[in-house]
């Protein structure tokens, strides 16, 4: 066996090392050392990003089981940065009395899901793909139920694990049909044997349904609002950005690599699902009063836009998709960061509670405004550029009507994003949320996100460097 192959999976190996060190620290560190837990975790994450900064060369490893491409490294790095920001934002929450003793579990569980996503992205075989997917979802259920003594969190955890199990079951059934009809699970061998027979169509539908659950596309989105609302806010942020981003990218690679012969079929499916997702999510988002629920529906509609990058199956689409994930991460994590710190400090989460926030916490209100503007796609914020590129990609693939419908939906979404802005700046309130000082970690994460919202769009080098990484299969 050629052991040099292991050099190519350095991102996974280094992540496992990070997980192990944190696990050991959790076990061995004395009571006085424990206050360094968070700095250590963040530092190790930085190290992880540093190790994987160079994209490396494309490689097929272990007989095609594992695939490595520069684009995948870029995606993994984006996900890692998202995780780091989540860690930073978790500061106040993890210092709470009922969580401080188990903060080690938070890091290890989160990183385990990240490891699963790594494997899912790099898989060259459905077996490894499924293992990665499950590694990414089972610890996620624990994270959702992290505040297990709080009713909402426990309920959300139960809902998540049950629906995830069901969707995994569907997906696995789809995979078994693929294996049954082709006799292989290797991505390399499959395209030749995919013919679009009814059995394979069913296999595709079940596989797609399983992935659509992860991405929360309509009608597989039903769990989203309940789980997002119940889960601890940091976990919700992580779920909405990192988990979703990895699943969309993995889905796109599989569609292009494995289901290439069925391209017209899956384009057709995605076409209708995108319309349903964006429209229904927007209509629901209009009426939400709870901000986490609101962001849940907002993230469902954003998932619809993400699928616009997938639908063309083109290189431009892939670039636009990765760029969109990056931009979406900055904006959404900024929004969740603000909401979570306010929830921790004041316990308030309804839109009405945010009335008059500008008077008492102008900086937080400003950051949330920027984040919402970016999510709505208003220039010159990054969200506009990411939407432009993804529309451009779909347009070039010939989906003119779809782009038009999506554009109309962006205008509708502007309305509800502005509602929040209006609440913060204009609506009067006798008892606005009292002024408070955020902790340093949250502050750093918010500055990072704000920088991202402002700069990612304007600095064209970012788009170009993603573009240069090429197709990334």
């Amino acid at each position: 066996m050629d052991y040099s192959q292991f050099l190519h999976i350095r991102s996974e190996i280094s992540l496992i090392a990070v997980i192990m060190s944190l696990l050991l620290f959790d076990l061995l560190a004395g009571a006085r050392m424990r206050k360094y837990f968070q700095p250590l975790a963040c530092l190790l994450m930085l190290l992880q990003i540093g190790i994987n900064l160079t994209p490396g060369r494309s490689a097929y490893l272990f007989g095609g089981m594992y695939v490595h491409t520069p684009m995948m490294t870029a995606v993994k790095n984006i996900l890692t940065v998202g995780t780091l920001i989540t860690f930073l934002q978790a500061n106040t929450w993890l210092k709470r009395e009922d969580t401080v003793f188990k903060q080690g579990e938070f890091y290890v569980l989160t990183l385990s899901t990240l490891l699963g996503m790594y494997f899912m992205i790099s898989a060259g075989n459905f077996m490894l793909f499924f293992i990665g997917l499950e590694t990414a979802s089972v610890p996620m259920a624990c994270l959702v139920a992290f505040d297990k003594y709080r009713h909402h969190s426990a309920e959300a955890g139960a809902k998540y694990i049950l629906t995830a199990m069901f969707s995994s079951g569907l997906l696995l059934y789809g995979l078994s049909l693929i294996y049954g009809s082709t006799g292989t699970l290797y991505f390399e061998d499959l395209p030749d044997k995919i013919t679009g027979s009814p059995l394979q169509i069913m296999a595709f539908a079940f596989f797609f349904a399983g992935m659509a659950f992860k991405i929360s596309l309509v009608p597989f989105h039903l769990w989203t609002a309940d789980v997002y609302q119940g889960a601890p806010t940091q976990v919700t942020g992580y779920l909405s950005v990192v988990s979703k981003g990895s699943a969309v990218f993995a889905l796109m690679t599989v569609l292009i690599k494995v289901f290439a012969p069925m391209i017209s079929q899956w384009q057709h499916t995605i076409y209708w699902i995108v319309i349903a997702t964006i429209t229904i999510a927007n209509l629901f988002a209009l009426r939400q009063q709870n901000l986490k629920r609101f962001l849940a529906f907002s993230s469902i509609s954003q998932a619809g836009y993400l699928m616009l990058g997938v639908i063309g199956g083109s290189a431009a689409g892939m670039t636009a998709l990765v760029y969109y994930v990056l931009v979406y991460m900055a904006a959404n994590l900024a929004a969740f960061g603000v909401i979570s710190i306010i929830e921790q400090k004041s316990g308030k989460i309804e839109t009405a509670d945010y009335n008059g926030l500008y008077r008492t916490n102008p900086r937080l209100a400003f950051i949330l405004t920027l984040a919402l503007f970016s999510l709505a796609g208003i220039p010159p914020f990054a969200g506009f550029f990411s939407k432009f590129f993804i529309f451009m990609a779909a347009f070039q693939s010939g989906f003119h009507v779809l782009v038009f419908i999506a554009l109309i939906n962006t205008v509708i979404s502007l309305y509800y994003y502005l509602l929040i802005v209006k609440a913060m700046y204009i609506n009067p309130n006798e008892t606005p949320i009292a002024p408070f000082k955020s902790d340093g970690y949250t502050l750093i994460s918010l500055v990072l996100c704000t920088g991202g919202i402002v700069a990612i769009g304007i600095v064209s080098a970012i788009y170009q460097s993603i573009h240069a990484l090429g197709y990334g299969l």
Binding site: P198, F208, L222, H268, L286, A316, P379, P380, L414
Partner: protein, 633 residues
Amino acid sequence: MKFTIFILLLPAFSFLLLALAGKRMKPAVAGGIGTAVSGIVTVLSCMTAFLYFGAPRLQDGTHAVLIPYNATWLPFTETLHIDMGILLDPISVMMLIVISTVSLMVHIYSFGYMKGEKGFQRYYAFLSLFTMSMLGLVVATNIFQMYAFWELVGVSSYLLIGFYYTRPAAIAASKKAFIVTRFADLGFLIGILVYGYYAGTYSFRPDMVALMSGGVAMLPLALGLMFVGGAGKSAMFPLHIWLPDAMEGPTPVSALIHAATMVVAGVYLVARMFPLYIGFAPGVLEAIGWTGAFTSLFAAVIACVQTDIKRVLAFSTISQIGFMITSLGVCTSLDPQQGGLGYMASMFHLFTHAMFKALLFLGAGSIIHAVHSNEMSKMGGLHKYMPVTHIVFLIACLSIAGIPVFSGFFSKDEILTACFGYSPLMGWFMTGVAAITAFYMFRLYFQIFWGRNPRYDHTPHESPATMTFPLVFLAAATCMAGFIPFGDFISSNGTAYHIHIDKITAAASIAAALMAIGLAALKYARTGPILPCGDDLPDSARGLFPALHKAASHRFYIDEIYQFITHKIIFACISRPIAWIDRHIVDGFFNALGWTALITGEEIRPMQSGHIQQYAIWFLGGALAITVLLLLI
């Protein structure tokens, strides 16, 4: 011409400075910085114009198109890339002058008008932002850069309309303006996508060879969609509804953004793409012309019955932009001697209109400053108290009514000549609208400065020098701008065109204007007892056309129609039932289950609620639906 970059950089710098450090400055310092920057920009713009038009013409008699800066910003393919740069050609240089001059006047005027307002520094920061984005828009080297600044202009307009953010009406207006124009920009963006895709470039002058091989057939669609964006910004029917409400912003802002500069962006867009419209989409251009003509009549009729001084001016702006758009629409060729006159006329009117309409708004601001009300019924007999404002306002009214020697006469005459050249119907139509214009402007003038004299709470007085200076300056510009040999600088194909007045057209329009002014004088210049508020229109007009009058004073119910569509149809028929189903059927069902479960115990409620089964059924149903869908196609 390398220095032109500072025209953009200086306002950007001033915006950043005032936005970041404004709060720590004294208001006067912040205003001083903004005004000084604006002054330097005006000087630079004049220098640009002087050097540009002073330079010798090319051999074919046109002015050279200069691109002092151009940097590729986002490349897609070899030919398709987004650039950022500065483009100087006759119309962009003309726009530089208009924007920087009006902006400077507004900067100075605001010293007096906004004195003591909360957020004075913020106000100047936004003014700088607006100036920068508007200048960036006109010097854009490609359609995408134009779009980027276009949106930025929209954002700064949103911020400035909502400046009095404690007033609900201002907030509602800013939101309305933002959403309506964003909706129109949607068309613009799709137009850009189509254009980029089929023409293979974002530049204004696509490579003809590439275009011929690509999609000439799609160009009309792209250009039509772009005009939708332009119609939104320029408040063309039926997207005009935001402009009257935008008058909630401070009056100098109305003068700068909603009269002189931003609202003509749509006109500028059509002028910028003019060779393409003429060459590939003459049908679209014709439709644009009729849209403009209809809008100008529509808005003029509404302006006759408004009672709020700023709203009269707002509808008058819509109507005048309609003139400019019509004038572009009636062009049939690139040659100014044969059917291309409208292009020059439109740009000329844009230029003169910017001056006299800014003057009207600033004059209105001066009046509002003195009597503390926007309602015309609260005004009257002001010529005694405000002599300077009175004289300049009269000059502006004469100009917009098209009375000779004032600038509006010259530009409007060119427009009417162009319209007559297109078809006599269009010519008479627009002459009629011009007559209505004269009527409502003098209705305004007589009611404010003559007419009944209401009891003022305290005697109105003339405004301070910071406010009267811009008025006098703009009045002087209004008196003289008509004598500029405008055709020498700008024409549809770039060669010099010598303006000559068409005597018959001029005579007809002057006669119509004078009759309209006489009618207005007869009806509104009387002095007499104070009538109850709002009952300012003589019964004769109401008696003659009761339905028309009622409809016009409700602005032809357009707002109600929008309200109906958004609230009654979208919200009530789609959103609300879905939300209702969500809340009552889905939630209600599970709540009911939860209630029964409560009896057995709170702890197991989530497990028994039935959510998960329901979700699982949806998942399975979804997967099966996909299968069925794929099997059927």
